[in-house]
């Protein structure tokens, strides 16, 4: 077969970003995990149906709990979820993941040595099973055109956000300067998230996927501190008095 130079190549690598839920484990009790997982899935069966998930073993690793990763994957599959990645964990767990065709999402953290002789510690019952990683990120310098900032929690910017820059947060966004770029709050679907800024000149604002572009937001609101929130699936831009 000849390759036409005008047709696109058959194989092409493209970079793309996806949001995938992270399952953070604080226990190694598979029975408990299975039970809690099923309860969670029952709450929103459509949302969790065939959902990809990344397993975070950071806590388990820190507490030096022994957990067979292959067994864990079986439990998660039973709940209808697909494991697409592993974060932290010990070398054995990472090796198991690779063997199962599941990629590692970060460099291995070898700070905790696993003592293979230590007994399996009984897991404390943890109500907050799926933990929210709600760390606030603070930026003190201007965010320049072409830069992209992602916060897993709230995002606070103490300078301006340049045109062509993009800031994303799973929580709220606060900009104590002129917001010229794009600001996307509640990117994981948090409809309660809000955007606050001292001067709104944004190219795009979005909360939980509902967005407005600059043509729709520019009114008599420039140079006044405003907040943006979601009301019945519509973005509301209101001056802060």
């Amino acid at each position: 077969m000849t390759i036409n130079s005008h047709s696109p190549p058959a194989v092409e690598f493209k970079s793309s970003t996806f949001s995938v839920p992270v399952l953070s484990l604080a226990s190694n009790d598979l029975m408990l995990i299975e039970q809690l997982l099923n309860e969670k899935v029952k709450l929103a069966p459509e949302f969790f149906k065939h959902s990809p998930v990344v397993v975070d073993l950071g806590e388990v690793h820190k507490k030096q709990l022994i957990l067979d990763f292959a067994d864990l994957v079986t439990v998660i599959r039973k709940a209808g979820l697909f494991v697409v990645g592993i974060r932290s964990g010990n070398e054995l767990q990472q090796a198991q993941a690779i063997a199962l065709g599941i990629p590692l999402n970060t460099a291995p953290t070898n700070d905790v040595k696993i003592d293979t002789k230590s007994k399996v510690i009984k897991a404390p019952t943890n109500d907050e099973f799926v933990e929210n990683d709600s760390t606030t990120m603070m930026i003190t310098k201007p965010i320049r055109s072409g830069q992209r900032i992602y916060s897993h929690g709230d995002l606070i910017v103490l300078a301006q956000v340049g045109a062509g820059a993009e800031i994303l947060a799973e929580g709220n966004i606060h900009v104590y300067g002129t917001l010229r770029g794009r600001a996307l709050a509640g990117v994981q679907g948090n409809t309660e998230a809000r955007i606050f800024c001292s001067d709104l000149q944004a190219e795009l604002i979005s909360i939980a996927g509902n967005y407005k572009i600059s043509d729709d937001i520019h009114g008599a609101i420039s140079n006044t501190p405003v907040q943006i929130y979601l009301q019945k699936n519509t973005l509301v831009v209101k001056p802060i008095v």
Partner: protein, 269 residues
């Protein structure tokens, strides 16, 4: 240790090479041993502005490829013996520059020189990246015009995330603003962005405003850095910039409209 200065902008035609020539000459005139490197491989210009185009034998690519030594490639300036020029290659493209090659050259130059001025090509590709990668200070040359300001903003983002200092987690590159081709009259009539408009977007430490001046073109064509034309406003502006960079306290000039003869006479501003 030498201080490495990158003169950059993102956008083309804003006066990077003019600035590189002027400030390197200014630093040398102040008694500091200075070398200016042309990173614009394939579009060699600095040697023309410096008036040494007929003395180019070897260039930076020859040095990187080991075809010539650094001393063979360096050209001594005819106006000031403390200033040397490392020209770019005109026959190659920017991919001939390598990170290791540039690092080696800068290391070697650091032993001999006090200041190394890197004249960056336009754009954000290999040449521009290598010109800024090892820098300690960045001179951002910007015209008072939206696309130039936007490109400078982008360049600042790259400086703060993709330089060696950023990658090693060291103290970030010091960024300075040089606002060139500024016309106070046109700002007043609303045709041009004012210094405040530009600073509103960039918020940088201002090193100086260079007024639009005919002497820039005449100096460039004559092959003498404009800073040597002490009568011209642009030449004075660059002299101020060099002095400020070296820590002297010089009040900013050329920002406001010149007060005319009559206004002076009647005590107006």
């Amino acid at each position: 240790m030498a201080r490495i200065i990158v003169v950059t902008s993102g956008k083309g035609g804003v006066g990077k090479t003019t600035t590189s020539a002027a400030i390197s000459m200014g630093l040398a005139k102040k008694g500091h041993k200075t070398v200016v490197i042309d990173f614009d491989v394939g579009l060699r210009n600095l040697d023309l502005i410096m008036g040494c185009e007929r003395r180019v034998v070897y260039d930076i690519i020859n040095v990187i490829n080991g075809e010539a030594t650094l001393n063979q490639a360096l050209i001594k300036d005819k106006n000031c013996n403390l200033l040397s020029i490392l020209p770019a290659s005109q026959t190659r493209n920017k991919d001939a520059l390598t990170l290791e090659g540039v690092e080696k050259i800068l290391e070697e130059l650091s032993k001999d020189f006090k200041y190394i001025v890197c004249d960056s090509p336009a754009g954000i590709e290999t040449g521009a990246h290598l010109a800024m990668y090892f820098a300690d200070d960045a001179f951002i040359v910007t015209n008072p015009e939206v696309s130039s300001v936007r490109d400078s903003d982008r360049m600042l983002g790259i400086l703060s995330s993709q330089s060696r200092r950023a990658e090693r987690g060291e103290e970030p590159i010091k960024e300075y603003l040089l606002l060139s081709r500024y016309s106070a009259e046109r700002v007043k009539s609303g045709e041009m962005m004012s210094l405040d408009d530009v600073q509103d977007i960039l918020s940088l430490h201002l090193l100086g405003v260079i007024p639009e001046s005919k002497s820039v073109l005449t100096s460039s064509n004559a092959g003498t850095p404009v800073i040597l034309d002490e009568k011209s406003e642009a030449g004075q502006a660059y002299a101020d910039i060099v002095a400020r960079y070296l820590g002297e306290n010089k009040p900013h000039r050329f920002i406001d409209e010149k007060s005319g003869f009559f206004r002076k006479l009647f005590g107006g501003k």
